[in-house]
């Protein structure tokens, strides 16, 4: 933990209302300002106590505080450094260790995830049992999506019409395995807007989950492999449709100590920069757009997805109150902190409910899974889609 970064904090408290855990509990230790204070205590010699580690673990890493901070405190870097320190110094209780072990040996590895897919239906039925073993496992099972038939994407998707660019596309681990339809839609939208889309096979996890959990070595290993893959593919822009992956990949230079040979762009960011060409067909839908933290806060991408959605004829876009507050999904958070995640999900579901929207759109599958599950708990169904899928439907003139 870099004391210089800690000292940037002037204790003004502007971060408090944006912090999901402070919103839930109203306690200083579970606010960014409080956590920075705990970091300071540690730097000044206080060992990491279980209480302290608990407050760090409770941070969702949503980075809403980074957006809110007028002093430019790099909380994102601080919490990442802290997590590394916690992993190194703090001995977790055996059950917690076991769950973390399962997650980190599973999620970053698409092939291992693939083995899991047939078991999804089963997992759903086993959820109550798993909850008794560990609430985190139960949460994992309850969120399990209905996996669609896997679509194998070609290595290259050619541009339709005049070619305006060549881009690489990240397929991601969770996105690729559980939401193949989002990747397919992304590739189609890019092609319809005039891009050759290069999809290198054998891409793995970009390293995001590991970065966000303090697993430094694993993160660097995965990042290096991803950089190699896209550098070999020879693209100068890599388009990413998952918010968490995009934000991590944009920080590769810091993680690896060198600039990768390509730019990283979120899909919506890339498309608005490129400008629309393809015809938009009307989609008469009421849509609530949810800001994924890793898109809105980590990448500062807020206006672009809204602009794209508002560009679709007949689509009625609604704003969700408290849009800056995290839904509680936060990567692996709903597995490690199931209760807090659930409370935040319920809160978000209530806010989404007030919009009266029939479709919830977000750039992060974790968020939409989380919010849809919370809405189901409250007895309200809402359809979910990724921004790419909505655009895809409009561009192709098909329903959603």
């Amino acid at each position: 933990m870099d004391p210089k970064l800690i000292n940037d904090c002037v204790h003004c408290g502007f971060c408090l209302p944006t912090c999901p855990t402070y919103t839930l509990w109203g306690e200083e230790m579970d606010s960014p300002r409080g956590r920075i204070h705990l970091m300071k205590q540690h730097v000044e010699g206080t060992p990491i106590t279980p209480e302290m580690a608990g407050h760090f673990d409770a941070c969702l890493g949503c980075m809403a505080c980074v957006t809110a901070c007028p002093s430019g405190v790099q909380y994102d870097r601080l919490i990442e450094q802290t997590r590394v320190e916690v992993e190194r110094e703090h001995v977790r209780d055996p059950q917690e260790r076991a769950v973390r072990g399962i997650v980190f040996s599973l999620f970053p590895y698409p092939r291992r995830l693939r083995l899991l897919r047939p078991g999804m239906r089963l997992a759903e039925r086993m959820a109550p049992f798993l909850t008794r073993v560990h609430p985190g496992l139960g949460a994992m099972a309850a969120l399990a999506p209905h996996v669609e038939r896997r679509q194998r994407l070609p290595r290259v998707v050619r541009a339709r019409g005049e070619r305006r660019g060549v881009v690489g596309m990240l397929t991601g681990c969770v996105q690729g395995e559980f939401f193949p339809q989002v990747n397919a839609a992304t590739a189609r939208v890019l092609a319809l807007e005039g891009c050759d889309v290069i999809i290198p096979p054998g891409q793995g996890c970009c390293g995001a989950l590991s970065v966000h959990s303090g697993r430094d070595d694993q993160a660097r290993r995965l990042a290096r492999r991803t950089v190699r893959t896209f550098e070999q593919a020879g693209v100068d822009t890599v388009v990413v449709n998952a918010a968490g992956c995009g934000s991590s990949m944009k920080e590769y230079a810091e993680l690896l100590g060198r600039e990768p040979g390509f730019k990283v762009r979120d899909l919506s960011e890339f498309l608005t920069e490129l400008g629309p060409v393809a015809k938009r067909h009307p989609l008469p839908l009421t849509v609530a757009y949810h800001d994924a933290c890793h898109l809105a806060h980590a990448q500062g991408v807020r206006a672009q997805p809204r602009e794209l959605l508002m560009g679709i004829p007949d689509l009625d876009l609604r704003e969700i109150p408290e849009s800056a507050i995290c839904c509680g999904s936060a990567g692996t958070y709903n597995i490690f902190q199931p209760q807090a995640a659930r409370d935040l999900g319920d809160r978000k579901a209530e806010m989404v409910g007030t919009t009266g929207a029939e479709l919830l759109v977000s750039a992060n599958p974790g968020c939409t899974m989380q919010i849809a599950a919370a809405m189901r708990r409250a007895g309200a169904e809402i359809r979910v889609a990724h921004t790419a899928q909505v655009l895809d439907a409009s561009l192709r003139g098909v329903g959603l």
Binding site: W25, E28, M29, Q41, T49
Partner: protein, 479 residues
């Protein structure tokens, strides 16, 4: 003794609402003013007024002091905890209990943030007028304690002008409602701004204001602070009462630029933000007058929509924290001078700054002469902190000399209590303490704040001799 008290507190409150873990306690050691720190003996987070009352009664049983805290954003150390006392944090009491637009009022718990009230009624065309710069985080309970102002109090007044009623827990632990409508002494007026020394507000009824028909925000860039100051005088002289007149000097602009890229005109020695609001026809007339008055500005920007208005305000609202970008440490002052003294006071601050080799950035509510000099220093440099303290104190002396005040909106707290005798006579302070004695004869409610020396209730004013009994018994600290 605290151990027995803690056992009592645990019986009154849910388990997780009583904090005793030392690592956790330390996160409450200061509010927005980090210069003063004290780890509280115990922290409680009550959820209801009744729980606050019970905690206060228990403190009375044990003769233990207590301090209330909202969001912990205060800039005078008003919520500085007591190591031998209980810190009562209201951040779990944040329900908006009632909104009644027909009566133009909302009833809220003390932990509700200032901005949350406005957000709850904005889409129906109402807002809560006082708007301290920290409005998205500061709590309404804290606003009541400090009588918070904000940029728009020039036209609309302070918290005290917008609070209709408060349910308070008195320092004895009684729940009492003070209502503006009630006959008798204006205890509500005395309570608002008493910085937690007369009790704890547990339910607050605020007045909601109708949003103005039109808001016009103008950013005027001047080559020098003097020109900006002349414009301010001219605006007031013309009989215009803008909703706000704010000024920032070059150094403050630099900080804001670094923090939020506010894109104020380049090369400005001062920028003035003037906001006119009200019925469209009035605003148009005043705007015409304003552009004429600001003809000396080298650039005049008018916000065309809410987004542009927000962009103009962004630099100003983030100015305090933004100074962190250009200086490792700083002291923010809150002095007030009569508006007409602004030019001479600013010139004197300039001289002080040069004399001590300490940079001072100026951000201020120019319309009401409320200065927020940010005294910058490097805490790693030996002696810099002390020099900054000297400059900071000298600025307050300037304010007093010019017939102003040592604090316009941040409160006295623990930070400025030592300056109180420069502004008020012993008789003035003793008289104020009579109010304290009426509410809190045992001196348990936020002791050590506001007044430089405690007064033992029942003692005749002006006959204090030797060491004060409260000081001797360790209940109070002499400054």
């Amino acid at each position: 003794m605290l151990d027995t008290l803690v056992a009592g507190l645990r019986s009154l409150l849910p388990h997780d609402s009583v904090i005793t873990d030392p690592v956790r306690l330390r996160t409450y050691e200061c509010d927005g003013l980090t210069y003063h720190r004290a780890t509280p003996g115990v922290v409680v987070l009550p959820g209801t007024a009744e729980q606050v009352a019970r905690v206060v009664r228990l403190c009375n049983d044990f003769g233990v002091p207590f301090v209330a805290r909202g969001s912990g954003t205060g800039l005078s150390g008003g919520a500085l905890p007591r190591e031998d006392g209980v810190l009562i944090v209201t951040s779990k009491m944040r329900r908006i209990l009632e909104i009644d637009l027909d009566d133009h009022r909302a009833v809220v718990e003390p932990g509700v943030t200032n901005l949350a009230i406005t957000e709850a009624v904005r889409d129906r065309g109402y807002y809560y007028a006082p708007d301290p710069s920290s409005q998205q985080v500061c709590s309404i309970g804290g606003n009541v304690a400090e009588n918070s102002g904000g940029a728009h109090c020039l036209k609309y007044g302070f918290t005290v002008n917008h609070v209709e009623a408060c349910e308070i827990v008195t320092p004895d632990g009684d729940l009492v409602t003070l209502d503006r409508m009630d006959p008798g002494y204006d205890l509500l007026g005395a309570f608002v701004g008493s910085e937690g020394t007369l009790g704890i507000a547990t339910k607050i009824t605020v007045r909601l204001s109708r949003a103005p028909q039109t808001v016009t925000t103008v950013l005027a860039a001047f080559e020098s602070i003097e020109q900006g100051g002349q414009a301010v005088s001219a605006i007031i002289g013309a009989g215009i009462v803008p909703a706000a007149i704010e000024m920032m000097d070059a150094l403050a602009i630099e900080a804001a630029e670094a923090a939020v890229a506010c894109r104020y005109p380049e090369g400005a020695g001062a920028v003035l933000i003037v906001e006119l609001d009200g019925p469209q026809a009035e605003v148009e007339r005043q705007f015409a007058q304003l552009t004429e008055i600001c003809s000396g500005a080298f650039e005049l920007r008018v916000a065309a929509d809410p987004a542009e208005r927000a962009a103009i305000w962004k630099g100003r609202k983030s100015a305090f924290a933004a100074v962190g970008r250009i200086s490792p440490a700083y002291i923010v002052q809150d002095g007030v001078v009569p508006r007409t003294s602004l030019p001479s006071v600013l010139a004197a601050i300039d001289r002080l700054s040069a004399e001590h080799g300490i940079r001072v950035a100026n951000v201020f509510h120019a319309g009401d002469g409320n200065l927020h000099p940010l005294v910058l220093f490097d805490d790693a440099e030996p002696g810099a902190g002390e020099r900054a303290e000297v400059v900071s104190g000298a600025i307050l002396d300037l304010c007093i000399e010019h017939g102003g005040s040592i604090t316009g909106e941040h409160g006295v707290g623990v930070d400025k209590s030592r300056y109180m005798p420069r502004m008020f006579s012993e008789a003035d302070l003793d008289t104020m303490q009579l109010v304290r004695c009426a509410f809190d004869p045992r001196g348990l409610s936020n002791p050590g704040k506001v007044f430089p020396t405690p007064r033992l209730c029942g003692e005749a004013p002006g006959v204090r001799k030797g060491v004060h009994p409260l000081v001797e018994s360790g209940k109070a600290e002499q400054f």
